[in-house]
C-alpha cells in the first residue's frame, strides 16, 4: 500500500488555500474515501457534502484535478500516484466552507418551472415508447456538475438570466411528458434564457448519469422555441389557424 497527497481547499469564501494531506491508498479507493480518511484522522472539521456514496444522490460534487466530478465515483487509481491530487469546491457556486458550496440558487430556479399538469380529461395510459426519452431526463441526480461547468454561469455569471443545463433537462422532461398539457417555451426563452446556451456541450461531458443533456434535452428544446417564436412559416400557420377558430 502506498500514499497519495491530496491538496484540498480549506477555508471560506473570504479566505482560504489548499492544504496538503497524506492518505494511504487501498484497492478500489475513491476520492471520497480519501476525504473521509482525512476527516477521521487528520482534519476532523473538513467540510464535505456527501450522502449515499454510491453515485445516486449527487451530493459529493467537487473539482478533482480541474475536472468537475462526483468524488464517490472517482477512483484514486485513475490518477498518477506520484503527483498530488487537487480537490477544489465547485467554482460556480459560492464557497461555504472547504468543499461545501452554496447551491441554493438552483432551488430558486427550480421554483420558476411550472410542474407537471395533465391535459384535461387524459386517460392514464402511457406507452414505453412515449416515455423512454423522458426517463433519460429523470435520471438526473441533481449533482449540479452541469451547472458548475457551464460557462454561461461559470465565467459569465448569468445566474439572473439563465436557468442552466439542469433545468433544461427538467423542462425537457415536462415538455416531452406524453400527458402534460402546459407549454413552457415562453419560460425557456425569457426567464430561463435558453438562447444564452451556445451548445458547447460541457454539461454533457461532466454528467455522471450520462444524460445527453445537449443533444437530447437542450437542442430539442431550442427547436421547440424556434417552432413557437422564430419560425415565420409556422407563425403564419398559427395565425391562419387562430383566425379560423377564434381563441378560447
Amino acid at each position: 500500500m502506498s500514499d497519495a497527497t491530496l491538496k484540498i481547499f480549506r477555508g471560506t469564501r473570504e479566505i482560504g488555500a489548499t492544504v496538503d494531506y497524506r492518505v494511504p491508498i487501498a484497492p478500489g479507493m475513491v476520492v471520497l474515501d480519501a476525504l473521509h480518511y482525512v476527516q477521521s484522522h487528520l482534519a476532523p472539521d473538513l467540510a464535505v457534502r456527501w450522502n449515499c456514496k454510491a453515485g445516486k444522490c449527487g451530493s459529493c460534487s467537487a473539482e478533482v484535478n480541474g475536472r468537475p466530478r462526483l468524488t464517490c465515483k472517482t477512483r484514486m487509481d485513475t490518477f498518477p500516484q506520484d503527483k498530488p491530487i487537487t480537490i477544489l469546491p465547485m467554482k460556480s457556486f459560492p464557497v461555504i466552507k472547504d468543499l461545501v458550496t452554496d447551491v441554493s440558487w438552483n432551488y430558486k430556479v427550480n421554483k420558476k418551472i411550472p410542474p407537471f399538469q395533465p391535459r384535461a380529461g387524459v386517460e392514464w395510459r402511457m406507452y414505453q415508447e412515449d416515455i423512454d426519452r423522458v426517463q433519460e431526463f429523470r435520471k438526473c441526480i441533481e449533482c449540479f456538475l452541469c451547472q458548475n461547468v457551464c460557462h454561461v454561469l461559470r465565467d459569465h455569471d448569468k445566474q439572473e438570466q439563465f436557468g442552466g443545463p439542469r433545468f433544461f433537462v427538467r423542462v425537457a422532461g415536462l415538455e416531452m411528458h406524453p400527458l402534460d398539457g402546459l407549454q413552457r417555451t415562453g419560460l425557456l426563452k425569457t426567464e430561463l434564457g435558453i438562447g444564452l446556451c451556445n451548445i458547447t456541450k460541457c454539461c454533457t461531458e461532466v454528467c455522471p448519469e450520462d444524460i445527453h443533456i445537449t443533444d437530447n434535452a437542450i437542442i430539442p428544446l431550442k427547436e421547440r422555441v424556434v417552432d413557437d417564436f422564430y419560425d415565420p412559416l409556422l407563425g403564419l400557420v398559427r395565425k391562419i389557424r387562430n383566425a379560423k377558430e377564434p381563441a378560447k
Partner: protein, 248 residues
C-alpha cells in the same frame, strides 16, 4: 461572485492541456475554408466527362450570361449556411475560434460581453431548419450528379471518379440525416408519439434518425473532408494532372 478566487493557482494542475482539443478544429476548419475559398473563386476545372465537382452543383449560368464570376459563388451559400448553423459546428467554432469556452472548466477571458445566441447576428442560428430545407434541394442535385457519374459517353461505366462522387454524396446524406433539426421535424416535436397521426411510423423514423444523430459530429467531419476530396479529385482530372481510372 465570491469564490475561492485567488487561491486557485493549482487549478491547471493535472488537467490535460485544453488546446489539444481546440487545435485540430482550428486546423481542420481553417484548411477547408482556405481550400474552399480558393476553389470557389477559381471558376475552372470543375467538370470532366460525367463528373461535376460538388462545389459547383447545381451548375448555374456556366456561360456567364448573367453572372460574371465563378458559378460556385452562386450556390455555396446553401451548404455553407447549413454547416455554419449546424448544432455540431456551432459547438466546434464557438470553442475553437471564440473561446466561449476554450474547453470545459477552463476559464475564459473575462470582461467580454456575452449574449449567447440571443442577439443579432447569432440569433440567426435559429434559422438552421431553413438551411435544412435548402439542403434537400442540394441533396437531390448531388444524388443526380452521383448517378450521372456512372453514365459515360459510351454508356454505363465505373471510374474512380464515379465512386468518389457516390461516396461523397453518401457521406453528405449521413450528415444530412443525422441533423438535429431533421430529427425534430420528423418526430421529436411530438409530445406523444402514440397519440399522433402516423405516430408509430414517426416514432420509428425518429428513433433511426436519433441513432444517426449520435454520430453527427463524426459525419460532419468526414463529409466535410469527403466533399473537399471529391472536388479535389475532379480538379485533378479536369486540369489533366491525373487521368481518371476507368474500372468498368
Amino acid at each position: 461572485m465570491a469564490s475561492a478566487g485567488d487561491t486557485r493557482l493549482g487549478r491547471a494542475a493535472g488537467q490535460p492541456a485544453w488546446w489539444l482539443q481546440v487545435v485540430p478544429v482550428i486546423l481542420g476548419l481553417g484548411a477547408f475554408a482556405v481550400y474552399a475559398t480558393l476553389r470557389a473563386f477559381e471558376g475552372a476545372y470543375f467538370q470532366w466527362g460525367p463528373y461535376l465537382s460538388p462545389f459547383y452543383s447545381p451548375l448555374i449560368d456556366v456561360h456567364h450570361k448573367y453572372w460574371p464570376f465563378s458559378p460556385a459563388l452562386l450556390i455555396l451559400g446553401g451548404p455553407l449556411g447549413f454547416r455554419v448553423t449546424c448544432y455540431y459546428y456551432r459547438k466546434a467554432y464557438y470553442r475553437a475560434f471564440f473561446f466561449d469556452p476554450p474547453a470545459c472548466a477552463v476559464t475564459e477571458k473575462s470582461g467580454r460581453v456575452y449574449r449567447g445566441e440571443t442577439r443579432f447576428p447569432l440569433i440567426l442560428q435559429n434559422a438552421h431548419r431553413y438551411f435544412l430545407y435548402l439542403a434537400v434541394i442540394f441533396m437531390a442535385f448531388l444524388w443526380h450528379d452521383a448517378v450521372r457519374g456512372f453514365l459515360f459517353n459510351d454508356g454505363f461505366g465505373v471510374g474512380v471518379g464515379s465512386i468518389v462522387l457516390l461516396a461523397n454524396v453518401s457521406l453528405l446524406s449521413l450528415y444530412f440525416l443525422s441533423c438535429h433539426s431533421l430529427r425534430h421535424l420528423v418526430g421529436g416535436k411530438l409530445d406523444c408519439f402514440s397519440c399522433a397521426v402516423a405516430g408509430r411510423a414517426r416514432h420509428q423514423a425518429w428513433s433511426w434518425l436519433g441513432a444517426l444523430n449520435e454520430q453527427h459530429m463524426l459525419f460532419a467531419w468526414i463529409s466535410l473532408f469527403g466533399v473537399g476530396l471529391a472536388d479535389f479529385y475532379v480538379r485533378l482530372v479536369s486540369s489533366g494532372a491525373i487521368r481518371d481510372l476507368r474500372l468498368l
